[in-house]
């Protein structure tokens, strides 16, 4: 489903070249919950950006759902990102002057869905994260945990195959972090593949697989006790949102 082979990503300045990813290879199958860990500067976020088609890579190959993303135009990559990938960020990245409903609507707008379809998906996604009653609130009126749940609703409203989460609990207290992780597990149980970047071993332990990065390379595979496999299959989230 996601297959990276010998991916290298280099950041260049006039003086030096820094490998963010060096011959990085990873395969993730549908429905997996993979945690990517590693110290600061190890390449976790770069990996996530490359996986999410937000950054190009210098060499190697990357296939997403069997499509070689390297050959795609910006339009095609954007369409793929919009339809197959959901993002969750550490700092939520909600648009401050849009209310909750409008924030969740953003990816659906770019997909060109009809108004009625958008409304249904927004409602379902907000109900799933328990914020249907806050649809008219702007982000500033919500707590950090609620904002992250809105971000999750936005990420899943389009029923993506992948959820890419970059330190999703980094700005939350432990209680809220646990709630967010519960939510992510619930989503994974519905069949959505999740790639979670974190430096928190406790969170990583909740994933089915852990990929540890150092200097842009996978240094170690640490498999924790796998959670029960997702019960709903790949269409379960779509069914839940429908």
């Amino acid at each position: 489903m996601l297959k990276m082979q010998d991916i290298s990503k280099i950041y260049r300045t006039d003086l030096i070249e820094t490998y963010a990813l060096r011959k990085f290879s990873l395969e993730v199958t549908a429905g997996e919950f993979v945690a990517v860990t590693g110290p600061s500067g190890s390449g976790k976020t770069t990996f996530l950006n490359v996986a999410g088609l937000l950054e190009d890579f210098d060499s190697g190959s990357y296939q997403l759902d069997g499509t070689d993303v390297r050959a795609l135009s910006d339009d095609a990559r954007s369409r793929l990102r919009n339809q197959r990938i959901g993002f969750i960020f550490q700092s939520f990245n909600l648009i401050p002057d849009l209310n909750v409903q409008d924030n969740v609507e953003v990816p659906l707008r770019y997909r060109g869905l009809a108004a009625g379809d958008r409304r249904e998906r927004i409602q379902s996604a907000l109900e799933l994260v328990g914020l249907a009653s806050r649809a008219r609130h702007v982000p500033a009126q919500l707590s950090g945990g609620q904002q992250q749940r809105v971000a999750i609703a936005r990420a899943i409203a389009g029923d993506p195959a992948f959820l890419l989460a970059d330190e999703p609990t980094g700005n939350l207290d432990s209680l809220m972090a646990r709630q967010v992780m519960d939510l992510l597990e619930q989503i994974n149980d519905m069949g959505t593949t999740i790639l979670l970047v974190t430096h928190d071993p406790e969170l990583a332990r909740r994933a089915q697989r852990n990929v540890h990065l150092i200097d842009g390379q996978i240094s170690d595979f640490r498999a924790y006790e796998p959670r029960a496999a997702g019960a709903g299959g790949t269409d379960a989230l779509g069914a839940a949102l429908a």
Partner: protein, 444 residues
Amino acid sequence: MLGYYLRLALRSFARTPGITALMVLAIALGIAVCVMTLTVFHAMSGNPIWWKSDRLYAVTMDNWDPNSPADKRRPDQPPPLMTYKDARYVAGSSVPLHKVIMYTVDATISGAGSVPLRTNTRMTTGDFFAMFEAPFLYGGGWSAAAEDPPQPVIVLSRETNEKLFGGANSVGRVLRWNDHEFRVVGILDYWFPRPRFYDLNGGSFSPPEDAFVPFAWGPALSLQSSGNTECWKPETINNEQDFLASDCVWIETWVELPDAATRERMQTVLDNYWAEQHRAGRFPRPRDNRLTDVGQWLRDMQVVDNDNRVLVGLAFAFLAVCLINTVGLLLAKFLNAAALTGVRRALGASRRQIFTQHLVEVAILAALGAALGCLLAVLGLAAVHHMYAAAHLGQRGGYQELTHFDTVGVAWAIVLALVATLAAGLYPAWRVGRTPPAVYLKSQ
């Protein structure tokens, strides 16, 4: 998506009202200055009889001093006026469809018990009205039969008729023109060709004359021109006949030539006449007999001088400065919101969609700038109009007549604002679309 982009643009304006107002103001100022300058320039450089421009020809013959051109600033040009003798020759030709010889005199008119009016009267042959399409409110012009011998007939401007007869139909009424009784045969309607192409002496943007009288009355009453009279050689002039026979130029001469063949024939008539006169000792300069159409005539006479062209250039330079400032402000605004753009990119917006979104925002700015620019231009033109009107209280003509905001001006403003601002906004919109989203997603 267009509706969505419009909503996003309005939200963006609401997010940064100060910078938005600054941009709109900058665009509006640039547009207003350009429109004001262009409106005046357009009025000055317009051809007021464009539909007949290629049929009407000013006739000139270079009879000037062999050692010096008529106008040292324009040495390639013959004198714009003709001698009485030459003008009469042209007027006697049967080649043109219409022909007019004319000049202006100061005259006093009184009638119907009104206070005597000091007027500017055009002494002209009767073809004037048909040839220049002067519109009549009442009556009409006079026939060729009224010119030789001259009949005491007069055509009044609408304004003069209002002053003398309160605007009533005065055709058939008798008035006194320079102490002679004249019968009114026609009243012109409002008519103000800008520039006054048929006579550019004494102010290109002056209004037409107050009254019109058959040309032959001028020589008959020995009425001197109130316009330009230029002489170049020492001649003994003791009486009117001497003056009429002299090489002094003072008569405007126009012909209407309906097609190229007629034009060729008229040119031949002039050249033959020139050759004959040359043999008799006149026309010492190289042959330069011209039939100049209206457009070329306005250019030759430099109705729009270089100062005005420079002014237009400066206005556009000012617009460019305003737009460059707007580009800077747009860049600052768009890049300041690059984090939000990054989020949109992450959520599936393509570069093209981001570009379009920002271009819509720029288009709204352009529309607002155009609207405000139009308003400022109207106010500016009104201010200029009042300034000139105050300086020439009660007088018609002059620059204040050029400051009317017309529909063409509005179209200019809108096209100028949209094209210029969109062009200015292309780079910021493109630039923000190229911003790598990943940079901002971590740091927002």
